[in-house]
Symmetry: D2
Subunit: 314 residues, 4 copies
């Protein structure tokens, strides 16, 4: 098997202030499908969602809470053996805190998850098993897209961009312990200190990214995949038609080349839908963005960061 | 490293009847860049080409010969150790013939290559090293595309579709020895015998595909990657503007979902440029196409195979 | 007013063999909206439809009949005075036959219509009044597209291509009496006889086209407007998803530059959805297509007429 | 002839501070072609340009001057008789000032022009003749686009948006004397006073637009036509690749539905390239935008005016 270890972002648990408006947003606007609901151990309501092109049972969990943000991000690994090995490696690394196992079934149709906190304060999980009821077009002579597309029609949960204060530590954990690769780096100062790291566990331009900021455990955005730039326009139109709060776009990122639009869910969590990019391979040289071109890297057309980009997160 | 073993198709060597018209086609029409020329050991002229988004020194080799077709397809593996292991595994498998090493430097800026013939008669190579002079936009604050795009502006050499008579043997070699995965299968008859296999070594919907046909070592098409459906239209327009021989398209494949156009180089080798598809993961269920829907699988809009698809190859 | 006389194709009445499958096709597949139903004077069922971006009450009429084809095509003129003048001009021209007035109200919310048969055998109508209940997004701070788009989401009834035997006579009537302009001409033979005429009454590349064929009163296709090439792909996908009979496409026309797909309604009438083209002005030189390039003119990528193009019509 | 009177915007004369950087911008960035150069009567350098899909000799004139802005906009009418009539009508209207004839040949290959100043202070011209050397693909079996496309590849000079203080007067002159139609109106206040007027002389959503502002004779932007939203992205990429000053976009206008990007030429004149929109007919209801939705009307995704939109003009 050519893809081993951590395969992909498998789920993200997002805290929302009110569950029903959040579900309407992620279903009617972004185009996810509600799979099931339950109540978390602490009594909070949870709703499990998936995108139409995902085989797994779910990929997005909305949890009602007093504060917006990200509870945790989960990574699917290739096998139980890998799960055992990587959890032991994380423990042995001395880089993670608050480590422990979540029992099988705490997420529906999902095996045990190893949970740990990385140096930037974000909670990550590894797991090897989730049932795959299948994507919306099935696997026998499938159509290229389903009949019941709605809203933006997002295809997959794709990645998160996260803000935190110990980028070096988190970078070390993801690359040296979990086997991620650096695809693009933002560097600053005469010694080219890394202030932004875009990390891939397979062949995408990024599966997760971290930006150095003097905060702990903050979510910049949760991102979903569209097919093309035409769908990005349609998504931006839907944002206006439904009076969703727009952040910026449609535009292109310099970093990853993605075609993108940013907006907010009703609780203030930033979402992205995007298309494009490139196929990354382990022998591709790392792309470097210098601080003076960071604006171009983030928003290729505007060539400057807007104030919200750095100051608004959950 | 999450991608291990065979990483991707690294080169294809195409036989052409006359070198200059072939170069004009692959450069001016498809949009590749000529990297260098040399003379092969047997005295035939060779031209090395690359696409604008590839880091490696070259990916396409044109060799002047009396008959069109494919000399061999090369696969880049992640390390010399993998190369040693996989070459030994191929030898031990008893599935390959005509095995041997090609010396370092026989391809420019490229290390030793292990060459072998698979049961369908196709010549494959494994190699671990090729220098990476870099892609056309570089790796420091790069633009999303280069200033000197031309022709169709193909981004990468992507895959080949090959015809041969012992699909079962080649399938066994690629999956059990080389670590490829079956993404989509065409099956026929009451026992659902596999007559078409789409194989991935990383996360693309296919890196190579084989169709069962009563021939040995035949090339159906060599395929190059475009960015989107708009570029497929532009490519089709260029085909007509330059009076290139069109095969079919623009259309969509059911298999892989790709948006595509097929055409021929001046020697009669079929080319494809395509966009779209999906990201494949090892836990994705295999897609199955039944023989009665094969037409839809190949050409999703026409829903039938044209005569050329099965009878024209090199 | 800069647009005077005949403004645009206002309606087409299509004969269908069974009304319900036809309605499902034009509504669910093409994306029109059913406006109302009635019974024609001869007892046949009629269904009135419109596209989402049309202000007028209706633009397509389906009439149940024993034979497929086009009953008539209607042209909206700028005023009752123009209607009086043009009807008198048609009568005086000696070029039309079977002339007469259809009473106000025979089409719902529509004034009197002047009906006549042109030399190629097609029945045409002129009318000045139809109520305009409005398009689907309204006229007060409108969104760019409506929430209830469905199927291909066609925007307008755009034009018809018609086959008939006296092209010269029909051409004379449309240009000299009705004020149409020739935008593109297909010519054949040493004396460049016109065998195809693309005619515009305003600024579109064509509002109606006639091809010289040894038949009377035949419909080649009824065409509807999409927004872009991405929507043409979506339309072609829908054709396959719904197992509609495809004719050809997606492709581009050389004539008019349109991006197109042809298919058939359940009664065998050919439909087109298309995008693109150019803005025509009266001082634009006429484009000429020679017979040897007619294939390229019709299907720009294939560069040849398929057999169906000339032999299948209703 | 169904299009009569004023047909279209035929030229715009733009003042630039330095001629060579301006030519590089309009040619290399926007994609126009330089046609010829001369010296105006006052000794200033002039460069005549055209877009690839225009038949006329030229459509854009750059004139070197001490201050940026628009010298005048020219309108092509259908005939010398119309030119005589409309010039007399303008004179008789009492709405224009500084009227007079510019001699034949003052613009190359162009007949006499009637020049006048409208109440908002803008200089307009009417003319009936300009030679038509033809567009870049010709008129005999033409390809859909030329081989020598470059930069953004703009197809046509499309329209201007102008700022001025007597909107009512200019509106009256354009609609009552010159035969333009109001397609979309921006209204403010309890009595719905018109503060923005989008005017069409044929079937485009606008050929010129005026916004009420307490200034005289100001240019907001000169606009050029692209084919689709994909070309808008390419244009925005080129803006960044060439370090052109971006204003806003890519985005959509609510007014006219256009897909757009705004940027500045080296002298500070705002340019637009855009695609999309709709076909306007004289019986289409006027679209009304209320002041509270003006932001959505101008920038559909942002839903608010940026400061530059109102304060930056030349």
């Amino acid at each position: 098997m050519a893809i081993t270890g951590v395969m992909r972002p498998g789920h993200v648990c997002i805290r929302v202030l009110e569950i029903e408006p959040a579900v309407r947003h992620y279903v009617d606007t972004i185009g996810l499908r509600e799979v099931m609901r339950d109540t978390a151990a602490d009594g909070s309501a949870r709703v499990f969602l998936k995108a139409w092109d995902e085989a797994d049972h779910h990929s997005v969990v909305l949890r009602e809470a007093d504060e917006a943000g990200m509870d945790y991000m989960g990574w699917k690994v290739d096998s139980e053996a890998t799960l055992d090995k990587l959890s032991a490696d994380v423990e042995a690394s001395g880089l993670a805190t608050d480590m422990g196992w979540i029992r099988e079934g705490e997420h529906p149709m999902t095996g045990r998850r190893f949970r740990f906190t990385v140096p930037t304060g974000h909670v990550m999980e590894l797991y090897a098993h989730r049932e795959t009821p299948g994507c919306a077009v099935g696997y026998l002579n499938p159509d290229p897209w389903p009949d019941d597309m709605h809203g933006m029609g997002a295809r997959r949960f794709d990645h998160c961009l996260l803000y935190g204060d110990d980028l070096a530590g988190t970078f070390k954990l993801f690359t040296e312990v979990l086997g991620f690769n650096l695809t693009e780096a933002v560097v600053a100062g005469p010694d080219e200190q890394m202030i932004g790291a875009f990390l891939s566990c397979a062949t995408k331009a990024h599966d997760v990214a971290f930006i150095q900021q003097p905060v702990k455990n903050k979510l910049h955005h949760v991102s979903f995949l569209l097919d093309n730039w035409g769908e990005v326009l349609k998504a931006a139109d839907i944002i206006s038609k439904r009076r969703v709060s727009l952040d910026i776009g449609p535009t292109r990122h310099g970093i990853t080349r993605g075609e993108t639009v940013y907006f907010f869910d009703p609780s203030g969590n930033r979402n992205e839908v995007f298309a494009g990019g490139y196929t990354w391979y382990p022998d591709k040289p790392v792309i470097k963005w210098t601080a003076e071109e960071l604006g171009t890297g983030i928003f290729y057309h505007d060539r400057k960061l807007n104030e919200k980009f750095l100051s608004v997160f959950t």
